[in-house]
């Protein structure tokens, strides 16, 4: 049975801050500036699914340029040296890191999927019977980046249909 999630936006923000501090902005020069705009645009996104004690998805979305800069920061290379394979790898790892940290805060019995990467806007994604419950939305060096949590209703609960067109 799924339980109420105990991961809130402050927790998500803390996880995202750790990722920036460790990999994307170790010098503290370009933090993610929160916009609180859940409708900001994206070009690419990645996600991991969690099943078991809680069911849902963690979604990382950004512009292509922000993804390229993230890959460059991870790899310690220039953005124009980043291949599409590197970009996909980093997008997947970003969703995986945040998803793993979210899972650590959930009740025992949660399982994390391998990441899925889609080089298309987050708006193209459909998560059946799921609704967005929280997120961190911001601008990183002038480019949009967001990390959001989607909660799936259980199979015997048809009250939530958003995103399941």
């Amino acid at each position: 049975m799924s339980v109420e999630v105990e991961v809130n936006e402050n927790d998500l923000t803390e996880m995202v801050d750790q990722v920036w501090e460790s990999y994307l902005d170790p010098e503290g020069l370009n933090p993610l500036m929160q916009t609180y705009d859940e409708n900001q645009p994206s070009d690419v996104h990645s996600s991991v699914s969690i099943t078991g004690s809680w069911t849902g998805h963690i979604v990382y979305a950004s512009s292509t340029l922000a993804a390229r800069r993230a890959a460059a920061a991870f790899l310690a290379v220039e953005p124009d040296e980043v291949s599409e394979e590197d970009l996909s790898d980093v997008l997947g790892e970003l969703a995986n890191i945040v998803g793993g940290n979210v899972k650590a805060m959930l009740p025992p019995g949660a399982f994390l999927s391998l990441p899925q990467v889609v080089l298309a806007p987050e708006a193209t994604a459909r998560y059946p019977n799921a609704q967005r419950i929280s997120g961190v939305y911001g601008i990183w060096d002038g480019e949009p980046v967001s990390i959001s949590m989607w909660h799936s209703s259980t199979a015997d609960n048809n009250s939530t249909k958003e995103g399941a067109e």
């Binding site: 460790s22 790899l75 590197d86 790898d89 790892e93 998803g99 793993g100 940290n101 899972k103």
Partner: protein, 120 residues
């Protein structure tokens, strides 16, 4: 010493290598595997002294790899570098014979703290 880094993300393997260097362990022989099955085969073929393994990987995950190695009588020093960290996973890792559990995102300081006693 020979150190095997097992992670399905090539970028994350590079980051682990870079962080090992930053923590002062760059002089060791660093080799890589892209999943648990490959890690199992490389451990048997190349006998590394230490394995740093991701948990969630295709083909065979990290804990399955560790259990398979121990079942085959291999006692290579083995630990996890993973984004997932729950008490039950740590218990499983410890029960299977893991020496350490490092959570992503990690720092060079964390690597130094964990690996200095192991690598000297």
């Amino acid at each position: 010493m020979k150190i095997l880094i097992a992670d399905d993300s090539r970028v994350m393997r590079q980051i682990v290598v870079r962080t090992l260097r930053q923590a002062g362990f760059g002089d060791h022989d660093l080799i890589e595997a892209a999943n648990g099955k490959e890690a199992f085969d490389i451990v048997k073929a190349e006998s590394p002294d230490l394995v740093l393994s991701d948990w969630n990987m295709p083909e065979m995950n990290g804990i399955e790899c560790l259990r398979a190695l121990r079942a085959a009588g291999n006692d290579v020093k083995y630990g996890f570098v993973t984004s997932e960290s729950t008490p039950e996973m740590k218990e499983q890792a410890e029960a299977a014979g893991a020496l350490f559990f490092i959570v992503k995102p990690f720092s060079a300081e964390r690597f130094d703290e964990v690996f200095a006693p192991i690598l000297g």
